[in-house]
């Protein structure tokens, strides 16, 4: 039997539809994909290694730069791991704000995903609309932390600063606008014949295969697995709020789309519950071995000045040990494995990046399908290369 001729094609690393510098080596028979291999590492910056040379507080800024579309989720998993190791008690006000900001981050990430994913498949107007609404969230970021993207807003023990006056008003404005807009997005896509033809039945993965491949987050839930870390392992104050876990049935691109859109509605539901009941009180722990006292006190009191000085110069020293802490980031389970040797710098930090694990399942989704489906599949598993390569 004659061997059929196949052709090797490199998709990327500069292909706009690969969402960064992802390269996929495709082996094609005509237009059918025989083999696919994602090749990564073009954006490797050694974040884990660099964090070993920084104090625990300094390292927070590096976490923003991994998944730059969901900086607050990354902050949260890192500070959560340090807090778990040090057994820090975070004040309720900080936890409420964390939940609100983490859910806004989910909206932020999902909006960029929806815009770019739809753009890849050909619905260009979606990108413009999604980025328009995302602007409200980046402005919220700027409002609370002073920075639009690399916020570093969560600190070990609480927040970097208290929420400014008018916070709840702006959150409520988002809550008013977003449900209408999400309905609009769905109106543009869900019943759109082109959209349905490009997504239904494409990139199907069964629940069993998805678990085997380590998929998590919306990509796993679209296959019908009802697992959300916010419910199964409630961190922060997620157990105080009511929300549903949307799941799909077929595990195709269309289901992943529907799950994410429904998740955006659930995020709004969580935010609307949280914003009504933000308690008063400190925004960061009052344990002075972890968090510096307020600046006014530092300028007046000797003891406070010493605390401030010690924290700036030496940082805090968690007890020796290692912990694993994970949260539900917009893309799936992001975990932080942290080893402390009792000094001011982390001995080892490892992130379990959801994008890294999800993209490793790409060959399963695309083999046997057409080359145009690769674009739909890459878009549907929602990757960020900054997080994959770290």
């Amino acid at each position: 039997m004659a061997k059929r001729d196949t052709m090797i094609i490199n998709m990327g690393p500069q292909h706009p539809a690969t969402h960064g510098v992802l390269r996929v080596r495709l082996e094609l028979d005509g237009e059918t994909i025989v083999d696919a291999e994602p090749i990564i590492g073009y954006l490797h910056t050694g974040i884990e290694k660099n964090m070993e040379a920084k104090t625990y507080s300094q390292a927070i800024t590096m976490t923003d730069r991994m998944d730059y579309l969901a900086p607050m989720s990354n902050n949260l998993v890192y500070v959560g791991a340090v807090e778990k190791l040090m057994e820090v008690k975070v004040p309720p006000r900080a936890e409420y704000v964390r939940v609100i900001m983490a859910e806004l981050t989910r909206l932020n990430s999902h909006l960029v995903w929806l815009g770019t994913h739809a753009l890849d498949i050909g619905a260009m107007s979606m990108a413009l609309y999604c980025f328009r609404e995302r602007e409200m969230i980046t402005q919220m970021y700027e409002f609370v932390s002073g920075v639009r993207m690399m916020s570093s807003y969560f600190r070990v023990g609480g927040l970097a600063q208290d929420i400014p006056a008018g916070f709840d008003k702006r959150v409520k404005e988002i809550l008013r606008v977003f449900p209408i807009k999400i309905d609009e997005y769905e109106g543009l896509l869900t019943d759109n014949r082109i959209w349905r033809k490009r997504t239904i039945g494409v990139g199907t993965i069964s629940a069993e295969d998805a678990i085997d491949a380590g998929l998590s987050g919306p990509s796993l839930r679209a296959s019908g697995v009802e697992w959300d870390i916010r419910k199964s392992d409630p961190y922060s104050y997620y157990d105080k709020f009511e929300f549903d876990i949307p799941t799909g049935k077929n595990g195709d691109v269309f289901d992943r789309y529907q799950v994410r859109v429904e998740e955006m509605r659930q995020s709004l539901r969580i935010i609307s519950q949280a914003v009504e009941s933000i308690p008063d009180g400190p925004y960061i722990t009052e344990d002075r071995k972890i968090a510096s006292p307020p600046k006014e006190e530092v300028l007046k009191g000797m003891e406070q000045l010493i605390h401030h000085f010690k924290l700036v110069v030496h940082g805090f020293q968690p007890p020796p040990g290692d912990v694993y802490f994970c949260i539900e980031s917009p893309k799936g389970e992001i975990g932080c494995y942290l080893v402390s040797d009792g000094t001011k710098k982390p001995y080892r930090v490892h992130f379990r990046p959801p994008s890294f694990v999800n993209i490793s399942a790409l060959p399963r989704l695309v083999i046997g399908r057409m080359i145009a489906d690769v674009i739909a599949c890459i878009g549907s598993i929602d990757i960020v290369l900054g997080e994959i390569d770290r």
Binding site: G41, E48, K49, D233, V323, Y324, R352, V357, A361
Partner: protein, 176 residues
């Protein structure tokens, strides 16, 4: 809280578990490298445990701190029962460890990352090659004896002592 995992493991594999302890709410076990596959298969398939989700594989380098240099960490989770187990394996430099890619395909890439970063070899791995670093990279960046940077600062007082174009040690002899 003596969990069901702890009880079952103590019953089934009491002779194979080197250490078992709880730390910050998570159950940790330390086992020998040769028992990894067997214990993981048991944990994955046992109907009362069903630790069917391998969430994370990573490693740490304890150079000069421990007798055995490396520790490989597996974090298992049960999607059905929502419990977590951390498995640790201590190995020395040059020792290899069996791959879990026959049980979970997700371990394929994560083990490749460990190989890339620490130089730990996984026996029977289907595709053990570098994943994040270049293919011609020499050395393993996450090891503790790999410096964060090799840049030599050029100050005027020690100008004569410094090679004007220091060659990065992780590049081979071929290029400059």
């Amino acid at each position: 809280m003596a969990s069901i995992i702890e009880n079952k493991l103590k019953k089934e594999y009491s002779d194979k578990i080197l250490e078992i302890y709880n730390f910050r709410g998570d159950l940790n076990i330390v086992i020998q490298p040769q028992d990894l596959l067997e214990i993981c298969r048991y944990l994955k398939t046992d109907p009362e445990l069903k630790l069917n989700f391998l969430s994370c594989v990573t490693a740490a380098d304890y150079l000069g701190l421990r007798e055995k240099r490396f520790e490989v960490i597996y974090i298992l989770f049960s999607i059905q029962f929502h419990h977590r187990l951390i498995i640790k394996i201590r190995i020395d430099e040059g020792e290899s460890i069996s791959t879990l890619s026959s049980l979970w395909s997700t371990s394929n890439w994560q083990e490749r990352e460990i190989y890339d970063m620490f130089g730990i070899k996984f026996a029977d791995h289907p595709n053990l090659k570098r994943i994040l670093m270049d293919d011609d990279w020499i050395g393993y960046p996450q090891r503790k004896d790999f410096p964060l940077t090799y840049e030599v600062p050029n100050f005027s007082y020690n100008k004569d002592e410094i090679d004007p174009r220091p060659k990065a040690p992780w590049r081979g002899d071929s290029d400059g």
